[in-house]
């Protein structure tokens, strides 16, 4: 028994070996071109960059005040920037082009009857035949990459450029992974297709159709669901598009990682997430297994029949029909602000796509009526999706977390204040942007609630908002669906998960209950911990400025050369007025009349909906602009918030926070002395425009 198995295994290996050797031999010219091109692009670029920049970077006279190590870092950075650039452009194009060529060369035999007669009559089982060609193709694609990477490393060693080997080899690892994935993807489509054009067309359809479908589904959810926060990542867009994922990998900006090394950037995060790597390993294996299973079941007579497995064709066609239908629906619905137009657009777009795809694939309408049930199925699926959104996205709109589970809440509420108090004022102007030492933006630090009572107040406000404004059912159009108010509430649970909602809503003076809830949220003792005002020192003032404009007139004045004394004077005056009992921050709530105006002008300039711009009491705005606040100088409370926030942020290359910039403090009308002081300290900036005169 064992002997038979062993013998069978040996025979299979021998069959595989024969096919593998032959395939390598028959693709040798293609391999040669690919190898030469790869060597020119990869080590060629590194060599040219070294030769053209070595003299400049080795002459320390060009780098006064810099250490040799720093200059060496700049040199390496220059080389790697070029290397990354060619990887994401030339190498990507080259790899895709040759990958298609190799796939066509290796698996194209399945698609013509004459070649099938030859290959399927050979004394080789299907599995070793397919695997022999598959592995030969991969060898031809990957081996030059390995050699080219080794040469890159060698060139750096020869010219004594201190490169971390991980740079080249990690890129190679990802490139190999995505080459395997893309080639397996191509092989699968070759197996399931009856002709070469239909294989390429299907690959293209899925590669473009999937990200398009994801994008349009995201748009649709945002259009239907109040509070919707997109959860779609770049990885989801390329979930079934290995070519897109390859570009994602090769096209990423690694420069920061290279320059700052592993001290500041987690190497694994820098290259690609473990999820990404794991997904493509698993998907490649799944595609390989499916290709083998399908190939074993594939009928030889499928050649020249467009598709050997029509189910896959139906799935791709259905995906495209749904995606284009949704996009057409959104476009038409948006143009006419009508839900009926939305539904009509869906049907029109989907049916057109279905017909066009079918015709392009089969070059005729023969058998078209047989595809109508499949179209019906895709419409039912789409209908189910839309019905789910219509009824609130499976509770998405009304879902609020259990209070006991919430650890903290970050929020950014409407710029229209709840009342005229200091709390209302501060809650609007606490958003701080955090940057790293290279002045790259990292994230915003919004106010955070951690006390149970504050979290409860926020949830009450949130619940009131959902219940009063968004009771459902939910439709994408024919509603007052936009406003200038961008608000966000983000709950972080004790298990680390988050629930985030974005709202675009307006506040009206008749919204007494909602305003009351908002006022309860905005309490001074809860706001002050995350407001830069409380860690502000006059020295952080960058400038004071004022502007005076209306539609036909503009005047700007500012001063960014304030002395320490002037800064202190401005700040003290402002704080004094802020703390006085007369302080009143002018909230601008919407009136019924204004709302009616908005309804009338819904398709006109959205600025009409901005309560501030409609404020006719004054058109002069005064600001104190906060400059850079170094990390080491922020308050301990803010530091704690920063650390928490940083843990949440898992962006690639998220560097260490270096400084933060505070908001521009608008000076309310009641702060007369501060305004007067700003007027005295500023000088006109640029030209005073009178547009009427100009016309």
């Amino acid at each position: 028994m064992t002997s038979t198995r062993s013998s069978r295994k040996e025979r299979t290996q021998a069959q595989f070996s024969r096919v593998y050797r032959w395939e390598l031999n028959s693709t040798r010219m293609l391999s040669l071109f690919y190898t030469i091109a790869t060597l020119v692009i990869m080590p060629g670029t590194v060599l040219m960059e070294i030769l053209s920049n070595r003299a400049y970077y080795s002459n320390m006279a060009n780098w006064e005040g810099e250490t040799k190590e720093v200059v060496q870092g700049y040199f390496i950075n220059t080389i790697f920037s070029s290397y990354n650039r060619v990887l994401s452009t030339s190498m990507f194009v080259l790899l895709c082009a040759f990958l298609f060529c190799f796939a066509g060369k290796s698996f194209g035999y399945m698609h013509t009857r004459r070649s099938v007669d030859l290959f399927h009559a050979l004394p080789v089982k299907r599995a070793p035949l397919l695997m022999g060609k598959y592995l030969a193709g991969l060898t031809a694609l990957i081996l030059p990459q390995v050699v080219a990477t080794a040469l890159c490393q060698l060139v750096c060693v020869i010219y004594e450029v201190g490169v971390e080997p991980v740079f080249f080899w990690q890129r190679l690892g990802l490139m190999v992974l995505m080459t395997v994935a893309a080639f397996t993807f191509a092989m699968l489509f070759m197996v399931i297709s009856g002709t070469l054009p239909s294989a390429y067309l299907s690959m293209l359809s899925l590669s473009l159709g999937w990200p398009f479908a994801v994008n349009v589904a995201d748009q649709t959810m945002a259009q239907f669901l109040p509070g919707y926060v997109s959860v779609i990542s770049g990885e989801l867009y390329t979930l079934f598009c290995p070519f897109g994922a390859l570009l994602q990998v090769l096209g990423s900006d690694y420069t920061r990682y290279v320059f700052f090394g592993s001290e500041e950037v987690d190497a694994e995060q820098a290259m690609a997430s473990p999820w990404f790597i794991g997904w493509w390993i698993v998907l490649s294996v799944v595609m390989l297994v499916v290709a083998l299973l399908y190939y074993n079941r594939r009928k030889s007579e499928s050649a020249e029949n467009f598709f050997s497995f029509p189910v896959i064709r139906g799935l791709i066609r259905g995906l495209l029909a749904m995606a284009v239908g949704l996009e057409a629906g959104l476009t038409l619905g948006s143009m006419l602000n009508s839900n009926r137009a939305f539904l009509g657009g869906i049907l029109l777009g989907a049916m057109t796509t279905h017909i066009v795809y079918q015709f392009v694939l089969t070059h005729s309408f023969r058998g078209f009526w047989k595809t109508i049930p499949a179209f019906g199925v895709s419409m039912v699926v789409l209908g189910g999706f839309l019905y789910g959104l219509y009824t609130g996205g499976l509770g998405y709109v009304t879902r609020l977390p259990d209070l006991a589970d919430v650890e903290r809440v970050e929020f950014c509420l409407p710029t229209t204040a709840a009342d005229g108090s200091k709390e209302g004022y501060f809650s609007q102007h606490t958003g701080m942007s955090v940057y790293d030492m290279r002045e790259d933006y990292l994230f915003d630090l919004d106010p955070v609630f951690t006390k149970e009572s504050d979290i409860a107040a926020m949830e009450e406000f949130h619940r009131e908002l959902v219940n009063t404004r968004y009771p459902g059912p939910y439709l994408p159009f024919e509603k007052l669906d936009y406003s200038n108010y961008d608000s966000n509430i983000r709950y972080t649970m004790k298990d680390g998960s988050t629930q985030s909602r974005n709202y675009w809503f307006y506040l009206m003076d008749s919204d007494t209950e909602l305003l009351q809830r908002l006022a309860e949220v905005q309490k001074l003792d809860t706001i002050q911990n995350c407001c830069p005002f409380y860690s502000m020192d006059a020295q952080y003032i960058a400038d004071v400025n004022m502007n005076d404009y209306e539609s036909t007139y503009e005047y700007n004045a500012y001063n960014n050369q304030l002395t320490e004394e002037e800064k202190q004077l401005v700040w003290d005056t402002f704080v004094e007025e802020l703390n006085s009992t007369d302080f009143f921050y002018e909230p601008k709530l919407m009136t019924e009349e204004e709302l009616e105006l908005i309804r009338q002008r819904q398709n006109e300039d959205s600025s009409m909906m901005d309560g501030t711009s409609e404020d006719t009491s004054t058109r002069i705005y005064y600001y104190i602009t906060v400059g850079h606040i170094p990390m080491e100088e922020v308050s301990p409370e803010l530091k704690t918030l920063l650390e928490q926030k940083q843990q949440q942020e898992t962006q690639l290359f998220a560097g260490a926070p270096s400084y933060m910039t505070g908001p521009d403090f608008p000076i309310p009308e009641c702060c007369v002395k501060t305004r007067q002081l700003i007027e005295e300290l500023t000088e006109p900036y640029g030209q005073r425009y009178d547009y009427d005169e100009m016309e």
């Binding site: 032959w22 010219m29 007669d117 009559a121 009928k299 030889s300 007579e301």
Partner: protein, 303 residues
């Protein structure tokens, strides 16, 4: 030995072969005759394991050919339009066959190249149709198969090459006991080459038989009787001879009978004809007679 029993092959709704059954003896040259679309090529592709059966079975030496590399290493199929890679030359194709087929013989390859006189370094795509076919045959024969399946192999070959090919195949059959199945719609081409024939029509085998037995077992005769034969005499004639076809024109009768020449002559002589002549049938005539006897119009079957 090839055993085909109740074999069915479908392409979607089209039934290409509908439960055909017959055997092909080892060492024979079997001619598969039928019109275009009759199912000849489908049967050959099924024999060499390209097509999987949809019913029934094909056994070659007791094994099914589909996904059976060991068996397929001794079966070679030369299709009506052989496939070559775009840059292929006879030399590269020989290398390919040498890599894949364990019994491939360089000596035989060189001999065949000499006989056919093809340039081994010329791109096969630049060759004429006949030369491309010769290239395929050289590779196939050099692999020394035990079963050679040929589809419309004589198309495009000039008469000299046809005779050469027939001679080479006959030699290999004699030397190695090779079995050859050759599909064609040209009956005359097979007449002097095959020892067995089978007629396929609309997915079924109308008949298959050894060619000599077929030829010896059926004869045509013409005879003149004075006075003309009466009905009782004709009935007597029909009883004695297994008549496939009978025509009466006044005193002359023409008939085709499934009997050997001597029997036909003896039976006719018993009726004392003024004149009689008995002749063997050409393969085409045999087919016409058999087909007509079976109720088919051969003109519609063999184009």
């Amino acid at each position: 030995m090839i055993e085909i029993s109740s074999f069915v092959k479908r392409f979607d709704k089209l039934v290409a072969l509908n439960g055909i059954s017959f055997n092909i003896a080892e060492g024979s040259i079997f001619g598969l005759v039928g019109s275009n679309g009759a199912g000849k090529s489908t049967l050959l592709r099924s024999l060499c394991g390209v097509y999987a059966p949809d019913g029934g079975e094909i056994l070659i030496d007791g094994q099914t050919p589909y996904e059976n590399p060991k068996l397929k290493s001794s079966v070679i199929f030369v299709p009506d339009f052989p496939y070559y890679e775009p840059q292929a030359t006879l030399k590269t194709m020989a290398k390919f066959y040498h890599t894949i087929y364990p019994d491939w013989s360089r000596k035989e390859y060189n001999r065949l190249c000499g006989l056919f006189g093809l340039n081994q370094k010329t791109r096969i795509h630049n060759m004429s149709k006949g030369m491309q076919r010769q290239a395929a045959l050289i590779c196939a024969l050099a692999a020394q198969p035990r079963y050679l399946l040929l589809d419309e192999v004589f198309d495009g070959l000039d008469p000299v090459m046809r005779q050469l090919l027939k001679r080479i195949i006959s030699e290999q059959v004699a030397e190695r006991n090779m079995t050859v199945v050759i599909a064609s719609h040209n009956l005359r081409e097979l007449e002097d080459f095959c020892d067995h024939v089978g007629l396929i029509h609309e997915g079924g085998v109308i008949f298959e038989q050894e060619l000599d037995a077929l030829r010896l077992g059926i004869h045509k005769a013409q005879a003149v009787f004075q006075p003309p034969l009466e009905f009782q005499q004709l009935d007597w004639l029909k009883e004695r001879l297994d008549i496939v076809k009978l025509e009466i024109r006044g005193s002359m009768i023409s008939l085709v009978a499934r009997k050997d020449q001597e029997t036909v002559e003896n039976v006719l002589n018993e009726l004392e004809p003024v004149f009689s002549e008995t002749l063997p049938l050409s393969l085409e005539e045999v087919f016409i007679s058999e087909m007509e006897a079976a109720g088919y119009d051969l003109n519609k079957i063999i184009s």
